[in-house]
Symmetry: C2
């Protein structure tokens, strides 16, 4: 298979932005193309989940392509819920690997603050099976149920809070993070309950944002290889799963990515996981086979997942602190890994990072994409 | 480049359906997989333009994958306006050509009759540049303006009607066409004016529908090769074009597809063009370089574009008579060409058809995909 590399990256700060979606996407696109030395671009692939709902705008690929001065260039949109960004990267990977294109720009972004929080929750709930949505389920409902399952087995409030405390600590070192503020166990306890047992700090924020990568068969200085990429699905209706803590799609997607990259999970230097809810980071660590469920809290206490730990997780701040502009998240994850593998992550730098893995969920673990990057 | 073939096809009848989107998509998917001899499917790619708007449903790829019994299989959605179907086929082509997947199911569909005609027009108008939409433009507005441009140069009402009369004649022979009814020049004249100068029969209907193809690196009996596929864009704001009749994106996309397929446009045996408005078929014939503008009406009168003519166009009935379930249209076009190249088109059969070309517009000619199929 052809070697496919990331030769340019760009991202806007996550958060509440004054820019509209096309402006956000244009800015990160131009940054990535500039970072790639203004290499010719053969096609543009947009990752976006719900511009129709958030901004009543369609034709995002054509609009972006024209706006950034690439009129004529082919462009499409790939949508896979909150894994739209990874799906766009995967599609670009296919197109370069096929030999049809040499170099493709991928831009993943979302403008979410244009609607109220309630409207946003409703829009996101359309991701669920219609029967679950009809019965009033939202994504936070499932996040709360999964958290309760772990708490029933002994996970404490203090242990769960370690996820958010770590990710906020990392976010505080990330100039493009939505939240750049260290939080304490006390802050979490004193925050409002959103849906019991989830506190405010257990749920990712609603963010605007856009991130871009240039993917190419060419090699440049600081090229980072897309060594493996895998995808799998699970029951669309979450209630149909025999065990909600058993993330089968994650396991299958990881196996595919690991096999393609020809690497052991133990040789991966850092990971960006999909912590839309704090419990998901814990559940993903377990399903990746890194630690047994009962040993995970101690691993957090021992600092295993810190930037200077054995397996740094969410050095960007994760969805919790960096932010989760849904269609952009997969690209933001890859952006973070590329910065780390280039040695350009500043205060967040993981020593001598050679490989990284991203987990991106499209829906409640029913559609998962895992990608593995390696320093060339 | 790896040879990529279509080894299975399936489609539902276009029209007002009692089925919901997932049911429609499931039915055409199962038909195509069955037609492909129940070959193992490595991934599913959905072409859909606006399920969020028409049916308030998201996660279409995961939902479909689970519904048809392929739980676990990777799936994504590709969206490119009314060229979503072709964009999904193109993405599947990339993924098989890359060697990552051997066999991919593509299903393109739309459920449009769930909203009123006015709501539908508004939803589709979101495809336009926001400035044009803000000023009250819709897709039919641009269709009317383009028609007026041709009429100002002498195109008569009777000549324009030849497009619709031919496509309805073909649709009457197509069991999956929305309209299976021959119409006369008198029917058109007596029909209501929708937006002057467009009469009812100048505009494609609002249709539900879903079509599927199985794309593979494997060869089976009756395999049809995807010999070439090309895409290009133009100004997103239509008013920015110097000459509305000069379809630059179509010209560029056609050149790419022709070059990849290594064929002359004159050696292509039949074509499915994007006749969302009757004038578009005429304008596309001109921009493909088949006839000069002034010679096109006579070519229609001479029967050049009929099933038994020199260059059969829209043997399926086209968007006008077969129907235009927006996200599905690109796949329906390919379905028709495959039936023709297999020699299975019944009363619509073009004698000894060896190659066919499809033109699919995503927006008002601002994003165009052209694909070329050949009998293996």
């Amino acid at each position: 298979m052809k070697s496919v590399k990331i030769i340019g990256i760009g991202a806007e700060k996550c958060g509440r932005s004054d820019d509209n979606l096309i402006d956000l996407m244009s800015k990160s696109s131009i940054k990535a193309i500039t970072d790639a030395g203004n290499v010719p671009i053969d096609a543009i692939i947009v990752g976006n989940m719900a511009a129709e709902d958030f901004t009543k705008t369609k034709s995002i690929p054509t609009y972006l392509t024209d706006e950034i001065g690439y009129r004529g260039t082919p462009s499409i949109r790939v949508e896979n819920g909150p894994a739209s960004g990874s799906a766009a990267v995967m599609t670009a990977f296919f197109s370069v690997c096929s030999g049809v294109y040499d170099t493709v720009l991928v831009t993943g972004g979302e403008k979410m603050t244009s609607v109220s929080t309630d409207e946003c929750t409703d829009i996101l709930a359309e991701m669920l099976h219609p029967v679950e949505k009809m019965h009033g389920f939202t994504l936070p409902t499932w996040g709360a149920i999964l958290t309760r399952l772990y708490m029933n087995e002994g996970l404490t409030r203090e242990q769960l809070s370690l996820v958010s405390i770590k990710n906020h600590k990392n976010g505080a070192k990330n100039p493009i993070a939505h939240f750049q503020k260290i939080i304490t166990d006390g802050d979490i306890k004193n925050s409002s309950t959103i849906i019991d047992p989830l506190k405010l700090y257990d749920i990712c924020p609603i963010s605007d944002g856009s991130a871009s990568v240039v993917i190419s068969s060419k090699t440049m200085e600081d090229s980072i290889e897309i060594a493996g990429i895998g995808q799998a699905t699970d029951t669309h209706a979450v209630y149909q799963r025999e065990d909600l803590t058993n993330l089968k799609a994650l396991q299958m997607a990881t196996k595919k990515a690991i096999d393609m990259a020809d690497i052991s999970i133990w040789d991966i230097d850092l990971m960006e996981l999909h912590d839309a809810f704090t419990i998901l980071e814990i559940c993903e660590i377990e399903n990746l086979g890194l630690f047994k469920r009962e040993d995970i809290p101690k691993a957090y206490e021992d600092g295993i997942f810190e930037i200077d730990g054995e397996i740094p997780i969410n050095t960007s701040g994760g969805l919790k602190a960096r932010g989760h502009p849904v269609g952009g998240t997969g690209v933001y994850q890859i952006y973070e890994i590329v910065e780390q593998l280039r040695g350009e992550a500043g205060d967040r730098q993981v020593d001598d990072a050679k490989s990284g893995l991203c987990v991106n969920f499209g829906g409640f673990a029913d559609n998962v994409i895992v990608s593995i990057l390696k320093r060339s």
